[in-house]
């Protein structure tokens, strides 16, 4: 510990002095800040240029290969925070799974695959889910500090190289499958790392050696994706198709709140989708857009912008912070202020945090509860997916049965059907969303 007495140079701690400004002076003093906090008014400046422009330059200079979104990926153009265009591929997708979703909320990816199947997408052609992929490792990095830009970059490039070449065994050209990132932390992390890779030649040099050793270069070059795309963006651009082609259940009586994942709209925030038709374009659009398209009542609330309290490290080893924050700032507000029937998330940690940390509120007489699930789980339910077999709500702790009942489905009957299905599973009669042989990348690896 330092032996130096704090001198309050930084103007913090016990040495902080209030300014005692008159209200009108305080207003004047902070006007500049308020103006600049509205990002859409921001002077873009040289630090806020579009990193994709430099990416194309690097490709022209023969430094990298850009995994392009072609017409075959059937892209839909959306607008991001500053009005920039972003192309969201809607077909030929490589599912880049989330460790938290797959480990803890498996109904998240199953609902997504089910929806794709229902829209007529063909496994092995229009999407691929395979075993040759790892976590982005960013949950660990944000939680523990173990890892570094180089390791995160190597993991990013290894996974995305695999996405680029993954179609070969199935007879597809390189780049056939474009990565669709399921986790918002992976999404934020990958965008940050892509920016560093594009801006820093020395970083590219260092990771290139590693990727070369792994046989993960194409023509001696790193493969960088044209866009980093989050699954909620796919859901967002497909929302009207989902509602018009698949929806079977009227959800107009449901009051829905949305929790936006921090690592979706606060990391490399210039890349998040904003839409004037969703919350007036004031807030990131994914999650909310699909709830609106399905006809639910989207209810705004005062702590919309707050994080959920996940904290990466905290949810494991300092859970009192996680549960206190999520109850105080999310669950209680959704319950009391919005009278929500449901809270939707678009990420892994948020759904886990808000879903699991409600019961403990009783310890402090804070008995607030709101069903928590992902946007795509809600969409799948509205489109007739089975609450257990497909949406896998049995893994949720929050009272999801309440929403299921409000949608006119019988929780008890669904549960009974599922328990019967478990007997079939034990007997080896398992139903799949795609041919399991497609997942085996080991045979393709050799």
């Amino acid at each position: 510990m330092s032996t130096t007495e704090p001198k309050g140079i930084a103007g913090h701690g016990a040495f902080f002095q209030p300014t005692n400004l008159a209200p009108e002076d305080a207003e004047r003093a902070t006007a500049w800040v308020r103006k600049h906090v509205d990002r859409r008014q921001l002077d873009l400046g040289e630090r806020m240029d579009d990193v994709r422009d430099h990416m194309w330059e690097l490709e022209r200079d023969g430094e990298i290969i850009v995994h392009r979104i072609s017409d075959d990926h059937q892209p839909v153009v959306v607008k991001t925070l500053f009005g920039w265009d972003k192309r969201i591929p809607t077909a030929q997708l490589w599912h880049h799974k989330s460790c938290g979703q797959c480990g803890n909320i498996p109904g998240y990816p199953t609902s997504l695959l089910w929806t794709m199947n229902e829209l007529g997408m063909v496994p092995g052609k229009d999407y691929l889910d395979e075993t040759d992929q790892t976590s982005c490792t960013a949950w660990n990095y944000h939680g523990s500090g173990i890892g570094n830009v180089e390791s995160l970059a190597a993991v990013f490039l290894r996974n995305f190289h695999q996405a680029y070449v993954s179609g070969a065994k199935l007879g597809h050209r390189p780049g056939h499958f474009f990565p669709l990132v399921h986790c918002a932390t992976s999404f934020g992390n990958y965008k940050e790392i892509r920016k560093y890779l594009i801006e820093r030649p020395e970083l590219r040099e260092r990771v290139k050696k590693i990727l070369g050793k792994l046989g993960r270069l194409v023509d001696g070059k790193l493969v960088i994706p044209e866009e980093v795309v989050h699954y909620s963006e796919w859901v967002h651009v497909m929302r009207n198709a989902i509602a018009s082609k698949l929806q079977k259940i009227d959800v107009s009586k449901l009051r829905v709140t949305v929790h936006m994942a921090c690592h979706y709209n606060k990391m490399v925030h210039e890349d998040a989708i904003y839409d004037p038709e969703v919350l007036g374009g004031h807030r990131a659009a994914t999650g909310t857009g699909v709830a609106q398209a399905l006809g639910a009542q989207v209810i705004d609330y005062s702590t919309w912008y707050d994080c959920c309290g996940f904290g990466f490290r905290h949810i494991i080893s300092e859970r009192e912070f996680t549960r206190s924050f999520t109850i105080d700032r999310k669950i209680k507000v959704a319950r009391e202020e919005a009278n929500a029937d449901l809270m939707l998330g678009i990420d892994t940690g948020c759904v886990t945090t808000m879903d699991k940390n409600q019961w403990i509120g009783r310890a402090h007489a804070q008995q607030y509860s709101v069903p928590i699930m992902a946007d795509i789980q809600f969409a799948a339910l509205a489109c007739g997916a089975d609450p257990f077999k497909i949406v896998q709500l049995q893994w949720h702790s929050s009272p999801c049965e309440e929403v299921v009942e409000k949608m006119g489905l019988s929780w008890a009957e669904s549960k009974q059907r599922f328990e019967e299905y478990l007997q079939a599973v034990k007997a080896g009669r398992i139903e799949y969303l795609y041919d399991p042989r497609l997942a085996d990348s080991m045979s393709r690896a050799a």
Partner: protein, 230 residues
């Protein structure tokens, strides 16, 4: 207790990180970052303070903040999204944590001890968490309703209609080749060195595991070659 020279070295390690100039551009003490910070609600932690300490080159108090405060940050990056100067206090904290680990600071060792299980899983499998880690016994505060259908984990996982998810000890099935590739990444980027600094026992366990998996992969390759030759 660290000497001033040691504290200076730590401070300079922070500023040498190439991200430093991205993350710190100036500060007018507006406090937007702290007002919007979830950790500031519950800890003696202020992102504005972190920025100010670095901005004013307050070497000793930077060192003090690395004892505990930097570990309070939830890494949500709300501060970064809000800052009118485009600072990222959360990004600065990430750099400071890395430097704390590099210098083997006791604070980092204390804070990260409960994180060992995740580290082990991540380094050895490339997955950060698995269904068997999220069992009611480990999370009594999640309540009695942690899952709504009774049954053994293996069967419940088999009932997920996606082949890659029918696992219990990893979040999804990861191919052996993938894990082996990850070991090279950990070695070549200094991550294993970081681990050794933090927890030698965990490092030893991981080293043994890696060796075993590499042998397993080599055997698999040999079998494949032999099968092809036949």
């Amino acid at each position: 207790m660290a000497t001033y020279a040691e504290m200076r070295e730590i401070y300079e390690d922070i500023t040498r990180d190439f991200r430093y100039e991205h993350e710190l551009n100036g500060c007018l003490n507006c406090g937007i970052c702290t007002a919007t910070c979830p950790s500031a609600h519950f800890y003696d932690y202020s992102p504005r303070e972190i920025v100010q300490l670095l901005w004013t080159e307050n070497v000793e108090q930077v060192y003090d903040a690395m004892q505990e405060k930097i570990w309070a940050c939830a890494q949500c990056m709300t501060c970064a999204a809000r800052c009118p100067f485009k600072n990222s206090p959360g990004g600065l904290v990430a750099i400071m944590r890395e430097v704390a680990i590099k210098h083997g600071m006791q604070s980092a060792k204390d804070v990260l001890r409960p994180f060992g299980r995740v580290m082990l899983k991540l380094i050895t499998t490339g997955n950060q968490l698995s269904p068997d880690m999220i069992q009611p016994d480990h999370f009594p505060d999640w309540g009695p309703n942690i899952q709504k259908v009774e049954g053994d984990l293996k069967t419940l996982r088999k009932a997920i209609p996606v082949k890659t998810l029918q696992t219990t000890d990893t979040a999804w099935e990861t191919s052996l080749k993938t894990s082996v590739e990850m070991y090279t990444i950990w070695e070549d980027t200094g991550v294993l060195r970081q681990l050794e600094t933090m927890d030698e026992n965990l490092f030893d366990v991981i080293q043994d595991f890696i060796e075993e998996k590499r042998e397993e992969y080599d055997e698999w390759l040999e079998e494949r070659q032999a099968a092809k030759a036949d």
